[in-house]
Symmetry: D2
């Protein structure tokens, strides 16, 4: 029997609308490096969806690459990036940020989120430290929506963080690798125009949200990063056939697809959460309203389920319990959810 | 009227067999990061095509990225990479190699090629320089097949270069961004097994050779670079959906497709070279047997042709003449060649 | 009235024996870059003092430079360095390690010290993490003797740490910026030969211990770092007049001077600690047996003392108390201690 | 018999006035990191000598370090530094500039000098290259006075170079490792105020010009590099006892010492040049008016002289001839010149 896959949200190819677009246009000839009409059309649609006509939009291949290029582009050499200890750049990018020369200044998190007051304290502490000229200066704040724990910043929280960053003059960067799952979540009150208004730069995730691959970096003030193109090239992040990325984001931003593409994942996750709690009596490791479900399992249960289902081992909780993650995606079908529930029973 | 496109070989999407493979498998679920069965199958086919069962094969997204990751992985911090002045890494990668901390040690070229004797002299010069401990040590040699000028190394030349590199204990790296056009060229006598035997590492170009995107790095001795995966991640070069690259190379290495995929480009280029010389009386800037044709045009002719055709401006020759490049590709159809000839007349 | 200086141990020039040596030899001519006889003599004396005839000894200008060069030389690109959160490289070197491309993997400390078990846990956690190929690998452990809090590792602790590092195959590096103050401390049981035996690399601090400037890096196995000289040059850390460093360390290692040079500092610190506690009723922020005394003062007292004495503000404790540091040095005279006590009263 | 040393100008210690200053002040206590009064006094004297009251002056330890820090501070990540092929940063700094992430864009030289027209052409070529966004942008011009071949820029040449740099908006940086020998040269017409007026940043060499060690970086517009202190620290280039550098430059800029300190070297070199040509019939490899003399010797002569004299082998000229360098210094005495002449005869 084939295993059931709930290990992550990058296990399938692309949404059919995206693939169709690539097929239809396959033999058309265009200029390279993102200077083609498809990229330009996608940029226009993204600017419109963000209500941010002055934004620069750049397309990159993946999340770690987007983080490394954006952070390197925005920071001065003597600056570091503030991030939660649980932030992806802190722990799971093989030191890509440090390889680029910058320290990740880790701060305590709460359910995967940075609080405005924590950022504020860190900046004030640096500002008032007698040794600050010997220390790495906070030069950017990095947050994720949803976070690495599947949680969401509320609009009020995001406004407060943005306010602190502006008060200290540091740009706010939001990693939206799974942004479609935030946007599709009933409890979410943060829109794309909010992100463009409150962040200095963010990326709209494609790889985990219906594209074959690709992330769209949105720099709210297009005049700010004149040399971003060359910095991309220097990082090996500029695609010769940039149109591939433009075509995909054009499809994702046609008829509002990106805003609804996460719905099947959210519905599947809600149903699973309900069954995990009510039917199986499992405990959530922490509450998350999006497409990632973190549960605390005793080890024999974990091992039994693992025989039939691919999920992610998250971390050891104690000697007899573990935290594991089940992830749904835009491609998850109700039958797969049924099968998972049947497999656990 | 639409313009005719002969500016480069990355203007279309993918070969139909590649696209078909992506479509057929689109909703299958696989593990991420290149650990899936499609990648493994592609690796096996590439090892077989190279007669190199012990090779490690890694898939990357593009040429500059492949160069940066490979060179960074193989060099020690105090070493630089020998390359022709005309080498892609020397001039057209926005300093990606230096950004990674390494000097490109440029050497004179002849028709885009490095000669073995030039590499030998450079290594000997360093070895015998009283100040060598204050200088960047040659730690790798970089060549391209075909070269940036469309020319080819013969097997004899490659054997000689390989011999010099081994004598001095430095790895030989071959950039095969356009390798399919070398392999399809009647005058070529260098095979994939020759490359695996004579180089320490090389990459088989996909982006310009029928893939949507992607390059396959072949490290002849798989035990040599244990941490290549992590180095890829650190460079932002590890795709979450690594299967996309595996699927494409699986298609390209099924039924020998990669060995013949360049033929239409070579035929088109041969016909164009003949017409340029015989019908229009143009002069070649240098002889190249592959899919790039460099011609010397007087400026009024160049401007007249530019009204109807997209080609690449290469460089100014003198005040009244320029060198321009016409490139064909795996996708070039005979009708397009006809149209180009008609457009020039 | 001149202020009394107890802010640090790098406020004077050099020990008279060091200065005399520089003066005596001033107009002699020697080769550059540390290839002279004075450097060679100093290396021999250090090897003898460490009972480590096979050691390589390199002279650098300062502590941050020594840390950056050593860590960069020993780590592979995908590795990071384990360090206490309070480690100098973590916080007060302006990101020099990250600028060199490496992550500082911070671990919790106790009185400024890393425990062997904490290093062991970190290595095991990495070894067993399913995502370890996406994470920075621990490639070295960094400790300081005395620590940044003036505390000392015992021989037993150091042996345990060394054992853990060897079990996991990672080099142990000890920062001895203030090593003379450890060696002069009655409670210390770690000798130079112990350091050479238990560490893979360490540095013997000169700048804070009687030299004008300079640190001697000792690599226990001289065959290990063949290219250290070139790495120094690449970091801008190779002195043209390397003899200046050799001469100073030659003086410091003549007649055991380095082993006793810290005594005046230790005596002064002991006396101050006694008076602070007994006469003034102050509280120590933490116990330290070396030349740094950390006291907890209420803010009015701190401000009153600051009018007459230069000391280091360490950190805010609560709204009404602060932690401040008084440092003695090899040059501290009993009269200065008397004056300090009188000034506080 | 002891050998005669004419291999370089960093073979002795310091000028007596410098050493005296260090001795006199040895036990005075000052704050660290260049924030002391001696550094401030030296800065004031240098600003006065340069007629540049708005300059920032920073003290570094050596030439390669100064080059690496300055170039890294001034360049943006996507920029490289223009330099002569013979420039010190191009060839003899072990890749320190590339290690910092920047390409050295080498240009042809004439007698070690860059011509204004060559810089202008390079900038124009970049500006008009269709691929410039894929290339390293010229972001600074680096020249040396005297050059690595001992030659001098005239004021007219320097004004022309400065004009070109300003026209293209790139800073001009002058490496003055041996500046005292230029200033003492009868044929020189470039003063310190000229340098401050025409360059954006330059350094006044101490190590080779009478200091024990140290270089003074002068940034003409002090507002330009607010974070230079932290960049120094990040490079491991900030001395704890910064006063050592301040004291030395204070001595060198008292009573115009720096302007005359090179005279003995110039006189000795002039006499040697005369004797080499007239008495021994040797040929100069190229004319240089400063303290470095490059002669072309047949190999038997070279070997004979080498038995008694330390000089620098420069490069092989042909199978039977070599170019060698004799260097004089501020410390060269007439008797040593006599002895050298006698030794050659």
């Amino acid at each position: 029997m084939e295993k059931l896959y709930f290990a992550s949200d990058y296990q399938e190819g692309a949404h059919p609308a995206v693939l169709r677009r690539l097929c239809e246009t396959n033999l058309l000839k265009t200029p390279g490096y993102g200077l083609d009409g498809f990229c330009e059309a996608a940029r226009e649609k993204i600017r419109a969806a963000c209500s941010c006509p002055g934004a620069a939009v750049h397309f990159l291949c993946g999340g770690t690459q987007a983080n490394a290029v954006v952070i390197d582009a925005f920071l001065q050499p003597w600056q570091g990036v503030l991030a939660a200890e649980s932030g992806h750049i802190s722990s799971h990018e093989a030191g890509a940020i440090e390889w680029g020369g910058h320290k990740v200044l880790t701060l305590p998190q709460q359910f995967g989120k940075l609080r405005a007051s924590v950022i504020c304290d860190a900046c004030e502490r640096w500002n008032t430290d007698a040794n600050r000229a010997h220390m790495v200066m906070p030069g950017m704040a990095y947050i994720s929506q949803p976070t690495e724990y599947g949680t969401l910043y509320s609009l009020a929280e995001l406004e407060e963080i943005s306010g602190v960053c502006r008060a200290f003059g540091i740009p706010l960067y939001l990693d939206g690798a799974r942004l479609a799952y935030a946007l599709a979540c009933p409890g979410n009150d943060v829109t794309l125009p909010d992100l463009a208004r409150l962040c200095d730069v963010f990326y709209i995730g494609g790889t985990k949200c219906g594209a074959l691959f690709g992330e769209a970096v949105v720099i709210s003030d297009s005049g700010r990063m004149e040399h971003f193109f060359t910095i991309m090239k220097q990082h090996g992040a500029l695609m010769a056939k940039g149109r591939l990325l433009g075509l995909q984001f054009d499809a994702l931003f046609t008829d509002g697809l990106y805003l609804s593409i996460g719905l099947p994942a959210i519905h599947a996750a809600e149903r699973l959460r309900g069954e995990f709690l009510d039917r199986f009596g499992w405990r959530l490791a922490f509450a998350s309203p999006t497409n990632q479900i973190f549960v605390l399992l005793d080890n024999p249960t974990m091992e039994r389920v693992a025989e039939k289902v691919e999920f992610s081992f998250w971390e050891k909780n104690d000697d007899s319990h573990s935290i594991v993650r089940f992830a749904t995606s835009w491609a998850t079908r109700p039958e797969e959810v049924d099968a998972l529930i049947a497999a656990i029973e």
